[in-house]
């Protein structure tokens, strides 16, 4: 456990100045700010339609979730998996990392957990900034009536589901980025996977849930009712199974990996 903690601490220390780390903080702020600015400048039109507060929240959050969930989140997950491994490939530091008196499981798990942590921080910030910006809109223009409904439950459920669904993609991409050091393979495979996921999920193919890249789209296409929406649905279970199996597969790859 101590080896895992110091490995995790080292992952944070060496990546705190990289784009992958800052992207987890900046992405929610930038995307939510842009959508909020759009709502603010179009406030007259939106207020004129006199949406009830719940529908207004859904419209506003949907604009953020639509952009983020279907496109930016999968790309961010692909980039995070690439970045966490590439820091070692690029600097040729696998040899020094595996020459440390630490067990290989801790080194590998710390890398994986750090990627999970970055995605968690990113989605948690998305949830917080989404809520905060909604209330900011109401503060700037009280015609919006964002104060009449609390979207905390539905947003918490949606972002939790998106987080769990991203773990399947992360695990696939993590193995690809662990094996190959170049940028094109993980990005290319991720891009193709993403297109397949988008098509199969949007066409409601019965087996789309078996493709990890389709999971965020499947989550966002569900009926969004705070009280009835379950967290653990078919695509979430599938994503977690993929994550568990591929995490262990990655560990066996690390065990067999020769540092040439």
């Amino acid at each position: 456990m101590y080896a895992l903690l110091i490995s995790l601490k080292s992952e944070f220390y060496k990546s705190r100045k990289t784009l992958a780390f800052w992207a987890s903080i900046l992405l929610p702020i930038v995307i939510c700010s842009m959508v909020t600015a759009g709502f603010y400048f179009e406030s007259k039109k939106i207020i004129a339609q006199n949406f009830p507060s719940e529908a207004l929240w859904m419209m506003y959050s949907g604009s953020i979730l639509g952009v983020m969930g279907t496109l930016i989140l999968p790309f961010y997950v692909i980039f995070t998996a690439f970045s966490v491994n590439n820091i070692e490939h690029k600097n040729d530091t696998w040899k020094s990392l595996f020459a440390m008196p630490l067990n290989k499981f801790s080194i590998y798990t710390a890398k994986y957990l750090y990627a999970v942590l970055l995605i968690f921080i990113c989605l948690m910030l998305f949830g917080i900034v989404n809520l905060a910006c909604g209330h900011l809109l109401h503060f700037l223009n009280n015609g919006f009536k964002f104060n009449e409904f609390s979207p905390v439950t539905i947003l918490s459920k949606l972002y939790t589901k998106l987080f769990l669904c991203s773990l399947g993609i992360l695990s696939v991409q993590f193995i690809i980025s662990l094996i190959w050091s170049d940028f094109l393979k993980p990005m290319g495979i991720g891009f193709i996977g993403l297109i397949i996921g988008l098509i199969t999920a949007s066409k409601h193919w019965a087996y789309a849930y078996l493709i990890p890249y389709s999971h965020p789209v499947l989550v966002l296409s569900e009926k969004k009712e705070a009280a009835t929406m379950p967290i653990f649905t078919q695509e979430v279970y599938t994503s977690l199974i993929y994550a568990a199996v591929l995490f262990l597969t990655g560990y066996f790859i690390v065990l067999k990996k020769s540092v040439k």
Partner: protein
């Protein structure tokens, strides 16, 4: 109890079908500076990676302080510091941050960072990004990273690579100091015989994965007798003439003519003899054998 820091028993390693280490039996005594010599591609770096368990060795072939490496990986690595090939440093971090990161991984106090930076002469460049370091500075940082854990056994793969003459002397003195005053065992690889001769107590010579020689530096000297090289206007005639005068010509008919070196006085006598007999001597000087020639001699003897 064994006095060996490193012992390999008939170690063989393949990359695919290519045998890169062939039946290697290294014996590195505690407290020694072991010069691990060989040309590029001899298998030195592969051997060092096997000693660090970066490449998996067959069981019961590699022992570090008497313990089998595969069964005692973490315990063995705790006692080792290493520099393998190009220094493994994070280019986006400063020199100081690279050392702090290593302290985190080793679970040791960060107070050693300043001491290490001073030791390798990087105090002024501590806040500069390591990616902007020159090759020599990177090498120094790599050495500082290897020394940080205060390990008993240091494995240094060509540590003077890229250093200027002053830097080479400083590192040489540092290694001697570590072995003599801090009882460290150091295995240092190089392809330069004269560099190793100046610091090593023991030498192992590797070629094409095979250990050609292993022993003390004085034992190596029996193979490494210097030679006298003569360049004249009449190579073949001079070679014949010297043979008739009782000298052993190593390479008859080839310029420069080579004779075993005996003494400075004897070299002077040869020069005088040639001039008195009407030969023009363009150059006469003594040279030590290069590694390639030494390999040939050792192989012949073996």
């Amino acid at each position: 109890m064994s006095n060996l820091a490193i012992r390999t028993c008939g170690l063989t390693y393949h990359f695919g079908n290519q045998k890169v280490v062939d039946n290697l039996s290294l014996e590195v005594e505690k407290g020694s500076i072991y010069g691990f010599l060989g040309p590029n591609g001899a298998g030195k770096t592969t051997t060092i990676k096997i000693l660090l368990n970066l490449l998996k060795s067959p069981s019961d072939t590699v022992f570090i302080f008497g313990k089998e490496i595969n069964a005692n990986r973490i315990a063995s690595l705790k006692r080792m510091g290493s520099l393998v090939e190009q220094p493994a440093i994070y280019a986006h971090l400063t020199g100081k941050e690279n050392l702090v990161n290593r302290c985190i991984l080793l679970g040791i106090s960060k107070s050693k960072v300043a001491e290490m930076l001073k030791l390798v002469g990087l105090t002024d460049a501590a806040s500069k990004k390591a990616g902007k370091y020159s090759l020599g500075m990177k090498q120094r940082l790599g050495i500082a990273l290897a020394l940080l854990s205060d390990a008993e056994l240091l494995l240094l793969d060509e540590p003077t690579n890229g250093l200027d003459p002053n830097g080479i002397i400083e590192i040489r003195n540092l290694l001697s100091d570590l072995a003599n005053n801090y009882q460290k065992t150091i295995l240092v690889s190089s392809h330069l015989l004269n560099e190793i001769e100046k610091i090593a107590t023991h030498v192992g010579i590797l070629n094409k994965g095979k250990l050609l020689f292993q022993g003390t530096v004085s034992e190596l000297q029996t193979f490494n007798t210097p030679i006298v090289e003569i360049i004249t206007d009449k190579t073949e005639e001079v070679a014949r003439f010297l043979t008739t005068k009782g000298y052993e010509v190593i390479n008859p008919g080839i310029s420069p003519i080579q004779l075993p070196y005996q003494s400075t006085e004897e070299t002077g006598k040869i020069n005088t003899l040639l001039i008195q007999n009407g030969f023009t001597v363009y150059s006469i000087h003594f040279v030590k054998k290069d590694l390639e020639r030494l390999f040939l001699d050792i192989t012949k003897t073996n």
